[in-house]
Symmetry: C2
Subunit: 464 residues, 2 copies
């Protein structure tokens, strides 16, 4: 069965039948903020670490699959019918709602036409800021004026996803949220220096910061009470689960369009206000152009032309995207690996580094240094380790002297499992990876570094 | 708002308005098997350990709340309408479906009347076997004959719930299921000596062992495709998620009743077949009578009569039930603490032990010994620890020489956190608890034991 096709002109994979048998995901963001979204808008985002820097929550292996997500609801305020810009969570029958998804290089566009309303939700993460932008355009294709409510919705997460299984009770007491100036700020008190925000366009019509209030008892994201009722309740406060739920009313004459920008970011309310001022529709277009240039530069490093259009398309765009995703975010953030084990796989990372030396030499150099640092003096590599292990302050945002929550690895001993977890070939991949990097970059000075073994005194130059 | 009342004659809490603002749970099982179910049939069960002996899966803090559960679907095979014996997961409007729940001492009864069909699902765990029994009676209260399909449904879990967040990808490859003789057997290959089963009455009309096949893509337990279609697909095999999905067809004349027994158990198919032969309707009644006698004996140890009916009822039944639940299962299995941290809380357990010395002296003696064993030579108690730590073979079912999966604590060092986690009053509670036990039982020989410190040589008699 055909669910989509490659658009080689625009370097997009276009899914025009969205009920795919498995999640079709895209990775957005190439620096500090990463959003992983599938073709139904399901997924999550994190800041730097999928395990400890979680921004939104995900219920891996749940039912319905791939919930929750970064979702925009639409409601016809004349007849009360409601749907979503992405197929899920409302899931209107696909013979009534036309959905199309375009997964591109660091952006995805979710398009829907239902009840003579067209909506497009373009999601991207700009190069310069840890924020996810939803560039929404809604158009009235009917012959009559329409009155709509739009509800942007995300579910905030505890920062460490381990908490979803552990110490949940106390952690539910330790989260809070508030709305001011149209920006919802989420604050998890175990790390009172970390905030996340969700903001939308001006003229807020209503909001909910509490998941329980937005969704309602014995309901799910598929029938949230705030959307069904057509009105948020203004909930906020401390304890429980928190969400960004923002309601805006839009009146559209026949044929009229409106463009609205939503922002989901790492930072406090002030950061949200600053980002909102920067990312006007024009600011979003500028960010999109910068992302295009970023990828065009990478694509220019290696271009092939082969008799097979598929081979050409894969090499020039899609394999590059996969490689860059792996070398930037490692392989432990996805729809099945959602942060519970995080950091670097020794072999995986060496393989990723080999293949991306031409497109991302700085990141490859960093990864090679981390792999060398993760080698034990006995010779083997730490099969799975977090490079933060080797930083003096493993939580750069934390003020000095703050006692770290116990969900963070407090001691290197936690991860120096010894031979038990080692695989005999882990460290061997280093050789090929370093050679590939040197041949591609000519950076022979790399060889002059002295990198301590994982089990060495951090002050010393070499292992014991 | 009133949601229910105490029935002091039958020692039951009766919930006649089931959309309670929070979960109303009951704990079934007093030996090795524990089921925790709420008033909508949501919840989970485990064998011995909520963390490592999980039988069914639970998605704590999920949406809709309290999913999944131990559920029985009913379908009218003439018009295709379907509902559930418990309010969830179908959630018919409460003005159309009458639901009532009776939480008793080690049993719960879920009653429903919808579309002139009455169904009662009594759930209990017998004293002698690690199996959960569903004693189902379905009655046709309409004037015409009815053709129904019944679908029993549970979702099997990885044995260690940590896997739900960790190494999920590989673990999905390592689970398998099959059906024979009407018994679904679930096998998680990380522990190939452990099985769980789900069995029903004779004359199986269909089955699904794969969750994906029973529920269907982009669906949930609220609209499983097998129930909607009225036919299971016979799925089974290795990899993915597994469920017990059993379909039986029942034809009832006007006024006719049928009684059916389902069994969810720890053990392989042969154990399921043995249990099914034992727990006929008469066997179930016998097990229920034994449970009544078990509780009557406990209740007889302390009976009060006070001018306040509430004080009397709480003391003679409900507080006793809470205490027994705490001292048997500790406090880390619930709807918010689902196993991610397990074992004994030092203070909690000392407090539980104090209060249950009259009703459960053997268990209290065991708990006190474990608390003493969890004391460090420096004086403090291990704030949260698993007594399995001190057993030579921490997985008694594992054949000798089997390498334990790394999700199990392999070394005592993992849990001997030292002073970091200690609370200054932990060990002080021991004094009061031991005194309470001695005063209640007169078991002065308890004082003659030599219990090693947690950090002592296990071969030695005392701490370092």
């Amino acid at each position: 069965m055909r669910h989509g096709y490659f658009d080689t002109e625009r370097d997009e994979y276009v899914i025009d039948r969205v009920d795919t048998p498995a999640s079709w995901t895209n990775y957005l963001g190439v620096n500090d903020y990463c959003a992983i979204l599938n073709q139904t808008g399901g997924g999550y985002s994190f800041y730097r670490s999928a395990e400890r820097g979680r921004v939104t929550r995900f219920r891996a292996n749940g039912l319905p699959q791939d919930y929750p997500g970064h979702w925009l609801y639409l409601r016809d305020d004349d007849d009360g019918d409601y749907w979503s810009a992405t197929w899920q969570p409302i899931g209107k029958p696909l013979d009534q709602a036309r959905h199309r998804v375009r997964h591109g290089l660091s952006y995805s566009v979710f398009e829907c036409r239902y009840a003579d309303i067209e909506v497009s939700q373009r999601v991207l993460v700009p190069l310069g800021d840890p924020v996810e932008l939803w560039d929404v355009t809604v158009t009235n294709r009917s012959e009559r004026p329409r009155r709509l409510s739009l509800f942007g919705y995300v579910e905030f997460s505890f920062h460490s996803i381990q908490i979803d299984n552990q110490n949940l009770q106390m952690s539910l007491y330790a989260a809070g949220s508030s709305q001011a100036a149209g920006v919802i700020e989420y604050d998890f008190h175990y790390e009172p220096w970390t905030y996340h925000y969700f903001a939308g366009p001006p003229n807020l019509a209503g909001f909910d910061c509490r998941r329980e209030a937005f969704v309602g008892d014995y309901r799910s994201e598929a029938n949230p009470v705030a959307v069904e009722r057509g009105a948020c309740s203004g909930s906020a406060g401390t304890t429980g689960n928190h969400c960004g739920g923002l309601q805006h009313r839009v009146e559209l004459a026949s044929g009229e369009s409106r463009r609205l920008v939503y922002l989901l970011g790492h930072g406090d309310r002030a950061a949200g206000i600053t980002a909102r001022a920067k990312y006007t529709p024009e600011g979003v277009d500028q960010a999109a152009a910068q992302l295009r240039a970023y990828w065009a530069d990478k694509q220019s490093r290696l271009k092939v032309a082969t008799p097979s259009w598929a081979m050409t398309a894969l090499t020039n765009a899609w394999t590059l995207l996969q490689l860059e995703t792996c070398v930037v975010w490692s392989r432990f953030a996805s729809f099945v690996e959602v942060g519970g084990r995080t950091g670097l796989g020794y072999r995986d990372t060496a393989q990723d580094a080999m293949a991306a030396a031409h497109s991302h030499p700085d990141k490859v150099r960093q990864r090679l240094w981390e792999l060398l640092r993760g080698q034990m003096s006995a010779g083997y590599g730490l099969h799975l380790f977090d490079p933060l292990l080797f930083q003096e302050n493993r939580r750069p945002e934390a003020p000095a002297g703050v006692r770290l929550p116990t969900v963070l690895p407090e001691s290197a001993a936690d991860q120096l499992h010894g031979l038990q977890d080692a695989c005999s070939d882990d460290h061997l991949w280093l050789v090929g990876a370093v050679v590939a990097y040197l041949k591609e970059t000519g950076d022979l000075a790399f060889l002059d570094q002295v990198v301590p073994f994982a089990d060495s005194d951090p002050e010393g130059d070499s292992g014991s």
